[in-house]
Symmetry: C2
Subunit: 434 residues, 2 copies
C-alpha cells in the first residue's frame, strides 16, 4: 500500500539526535522530494533537560515528550530512529519498535554488535527494516558496500582503523615522540577522548564495530566477545622509534579475514608498512580497507564520528526506508547468515612479530634469546641490539620474526621472561603486511 506521508519518531535528543532533528527540519523539502512524499518528524522522546535546548524552540512544542508510552503510542509513526546509544534501554526500545511493526534506523553500535542478528530476525518476522549505517564509521558508507556494492565478491579481508580516539593518540605519539599518558591527556583536553577512556583505548569500541562489519562481510555471526582484543596503552615512544627504523607505522587495527575455512577476528596494535595507505591515515580519521576476489582492494576513508557525519548516515537510512514505505514495498532487511565458517582461535593465528626485550648487556645474551625462539620453531628475520640509557647495565634487543603461530609465540614469551639474562619483555606487537 502506497502512503501519502511517512512519519518519523526520534528517540534521543543528544548530539547526534539533535543534529538529525535539525537536518530533518532544515532539509525537509529536498528530503521529502527524494522520498516521493512528505517526510514528517512527528514525535521526539527526550530527557527533561533537553527541553531547555535552543533546538526545541525551532520545532512545534507538541512534538516533544519525555514519556515512553506517549512516544510509542503516538499515531502515524512508520520509522523509529533510535539515537540514545548504549545497550540499555536502547535494545528494549528497538525491540518494542520492531514488534509494533515500525522500521528502525539506528546509529547504536553496541546494540547492533551485541543483538543485531536477533533484531534482524525479529524485523524479518515483522516485515520491517532495520538500518544501521551510522553505527560504524560516521558518515563513511561501510554497511551499504557489503549489502549492495560488493555483493558479487567473496570478501577475503577487512582491515580497519575504526576508532578515532586511539588513532589520534597514536598519531601524536608518532609525530611528536611523546608518551601514551601525555597523548591521552591531550586527546581528553581536545574532546577526542572521554574522561573515562577505557572503551576506546582498550579496543572495546573497535570490537563493536568490527563485529558489525565481520558479520556482514563473512555472513557469519560475530559477537564482540568472539573478537580477540588488545588496547594501545602499552605502546611506548621507543616502539615508534624502532618501528620507524624498520619502515613501519603503529596503528590499532581491527582485522577480519578469511583464513583456511575459518575467519580471524581481532583488534590489536600492529606494525604496518609505512608505504601502505592505512599507515598514512592520521588523526581522528577512520579508514576501512576491504579485499574481495573481484574488486581487489577498495578503501573507504573519512571522519569516523561526530554529529554531522553520523547524521549523514542516519538520514540516508531514513530516506532509504521511507522510499520503500512510500512506494508500499516491503522494507524487510535481507539477512544472510549461511557460510558455516567458524572463528579461528587466537592461538592458531599466524603473524609476524616485533619484540622489544630489555636484557643484561653481556656476551651471549642475544644467542640465548635467539635459541628460545628456535626452540619454538620461530624464525627471526632481523634483530638489533642497543645499549639502554642507564649506563651500559642493560641492553635493549629488538627482534622481528618471520610468520609464527600465536601459541608458539606465547610459549616463547613465557620462556623468555624466565631467562635470567632477560630483565623484561618490554613489548610485543604483531606485524601485518596488508
Amino acid at each position: 500500500m502506497k502512503k501519502q506521508s511517512v512519519g518519523l519518531g526520534l528517540l534521543g535528543l543528544g548530539v547526534v539526535g539533535g543534529q538529525v532533528a535539525r537536518v530533518l527540519t532544515e532539509k525537509a523539502e529536498t528530503l521529502s522530494e527524494q522520498v516521493g512524499c512528505p517526510l514528517v518528524l512527528r514525535k521526539i522522546k527526550c530527557l527533561p533537560q533537553d527541553l531547555n535546548r535552543p533546538l526545541t524552540k525551532e520545532l512545534p512544542a507538541g512534538i516533544f515528550t519525555t514519556d515512553n508510552e506517549e512516544f510509542f503510542k503516538a499515531p502515524d509513526i512508520d520509522i523509529i530512529v533510535e539515537l540514545i546509544g548504549g545497550e540499555n534501554p536502547a535494545y528494549d526500545y528497538q525491540k518494542r519498535a520492531i514488534t509494533t511493526n515500525r522500521h528502525v534506523v539506528t546509529a547504536n553500535k553496541e546494540v547492533i554488535a551485541k543483538h543485531g542478528t536477533e533484531l534482524l530476525k525479529l524485523a524479518q518476522q515483522h516485515d520491517v527494516g532495520l538500518c544501521y549505517e551510522g553505527s560504524v564509521g560516521g558518515g563513511i558508507p561501510l554497511i551499504a558496500p557489503f549489502k549492495h556494492d560488493l555483493v558479487a565478491n567473496d570478501i577475503t579481508g577487512v582491515y580497519a582503523i575504526i576508532n578515532g580516539t586511539t588513532n589520534y593518540i597514536l598519531t601524536r605519539m608518532a609525530k611528536e615522540g611523546i608518551g601514551f599518558a601525555t597523548a591521552l591527556q591531550n586527546a581528553q583536553q581536545l574532546g577526542y577522548a572521554e574522561a573515562n577512556p577505557r572503551n576506546d583505548i582498550e579496543g572495546i569500541d573497535a570490537t563493536y564495530k568490527l563485529a558489525i562489519l565481520a558479520t556482514l562481510a563473512f555472513q557469519t555471526e560475530v559477537k564482540p566477545e568472539d573478537i580477540y582484543c588488545e588496547g594501545i596503552s602499552r605502546i611506548g615512544s621507543r616502539d615508534f622509534r624502532y618501528a620507524r627504523e624498520f619502515g613501519f607505522a603503529i596503528k590499532l587495527l581491527a582485522i577480519a579475514r578469511q583464513s583456511d575455512n575459518a575467519i580471524e577476528v581481532r583488534v590489536h596494535p600492529v606494525l604496518l608498512p609505512e608505504e601502505t595507505f592505512l599507515a598514512k591515515v592520521d588523526g581522528v580519521y577512520n579508514a576501512v580497507e576491504v579485499e574481495g576476489d573481484l574488486v581487489g582492494k577498495v578503501l573507504f576513508f573519512g571522519e569516523g564520528a561526530g554529529a554531522r557525519p553520523t547524521s549523514s548516515a542516519v538520514i540516508a537510512d531514513i530516506v532509504y526506508s521511507a522510499q520503500k514505505i512510500a512506494r508500499g514495498i516491503s522494507g524487510k532487511t535481507r539477512l544472510r547468515l549461511d557460510s558455516g565458517r567458524s572463528i579461528k582461535p587466537m592461538s592458531a593465528v599466524e603473524t609476524e612479530y616485533y619484540l622489544r626485550i630489555t636484557a643484561a648487556d653481556r656476551p651471549g645474551v642475544l644467542a640465548q634469546i635467539a635459541r628460545t625462539f628456535g626452540d619454538h620453531l620461530i624464525s627471526i628475520s632481523s634483530a638489533i641490539q642497543r645499549e639502554t640509557e642507564n649506563g651500559g647495565q642493560s641492553a635493549e634487543i629488538v627482534i622481528m620474526t618471520h610468520p609464527a603461530k600465536e601459541a608458539a609465540m606465547q610459549q616463547a614469551l613465557a620462556e623468555l621472561a624466565r631467562l635470567p639474562v632477560v630483565k623484561e619483555v618490554s613489548n610485543f606487537i604483531r606485524v601485518e603486511n596488508v
Copy 2:
C-alpha cells in the same frame, strides 16, 4: 508482478563481458540466492571471433549469437547488460533495450557521459532502470554513494584521480625522475596505456567520468564538452623537482565544485600538497574525494579499471536490478535534475598557480616579470631563480602565486611571452589546496 526467474542478455564478450559471463556462471547459485530467484544468462551477442574463446566451451552453445535481431528478440530477457563500450553502436543498443522495456546495466562511460540524461528520461518513460556503477572507477562504489549514501548532503566538491594511465605515468615521473615520453612508453609496454594513448593522456577519458559524477553530485546536466580539459603531456621532470621543493605532488585531477551559485568542472594537472591523501595515490589506482555539508570529506579508493573490478560493479548492478524485478517492484531510476546551477566559465575560475619561466640571466629580469603579474593584480607568494644548465646564458624562474582569476592569468601569460627577457613560459600548473 513477481517473477520466477530473471533473464539476462549480454551484449559484448570482450575482457569485461567475458569476465561478467564467467562470474555469472561460477557464482550462479549465490547470486540467485541474493536475487531471490534464479538469475539466468540467456543470450550473449558477441563477435564471430569471440566464438573461439575458451569461455564459450563452458557455456551452453545455444546461448551465443552474432546476430542483433536474434539477440534483441530472444524471449525472457529482463535485463540487457551492455559491455561493448564506445559510443556507437552501444548508444543505439541501449535505446533499443530500453524502448523494448528491458532494464539496462552498463559500464559504458562514453554513452552515459554523452547521453545519460536522455537515456535516463527514456528509461523512466518505460518504467525500467538504467544502472552504470561500472562506468566510473572500476569496482569502487562511486555512483551508489551519490544515489543513496550521501543523499542527506549538499555536495560541495568532488576531487578525483580517475584515470589510471595518467596517474601511473605521473607516478613513474615523480619517483624516477624520467621524462613524459619514457614514462608513457613504459606504460604502453606494461599494457597500462593504449597504442593510441590520446584519450587518456589528454584527459578526455577523465572528462567522461567527471561528467557522470558531476551530473549526479550537483543534479545538473554536465556534458563532457562542458568540462575544461588539459592533459599531462607538457609536464616535465623539472616540474616534479620544483613541486617537491615547494612541498607538492603533481596529479591529473578531475574537479567538480560548487562556486558561488555555479559549478566548476575541469580536468587538468594540479599541484597538490604532499600531505593530502590524493597526493599519496600512486600507480594505476583511482581515488575520489567527495565533500558534503554533513559528511565532511569522504574518500573512495581502489583499482579504477580492469575486468575483475569492473565485473564487481556490473554484477552489483545486475543483482540490484534483478531484486526489483523478482519482487515485482518498479525498477525506475529516479532522475534528479533540478538545481538550476550553471557551469562557471573557465575564465572566471580562481586558483593559485605555479609557473616555470625560462628567461635571460641578467639583473632586473625577475622585477620585470613580477611587474607583469602586478599589472594584472596577480600577487606572487614565492619565487625562486636558478641558473639553467646551458652555461649561465639563461635562468629558470619559478613562481607561485596567490589565488588569481584564470582570465587575468591568461593575459599575464600572453604578456610575459612577449617580454624580450622571457625566452619561454615553460609551464604553468594550477595549485589546488584540497
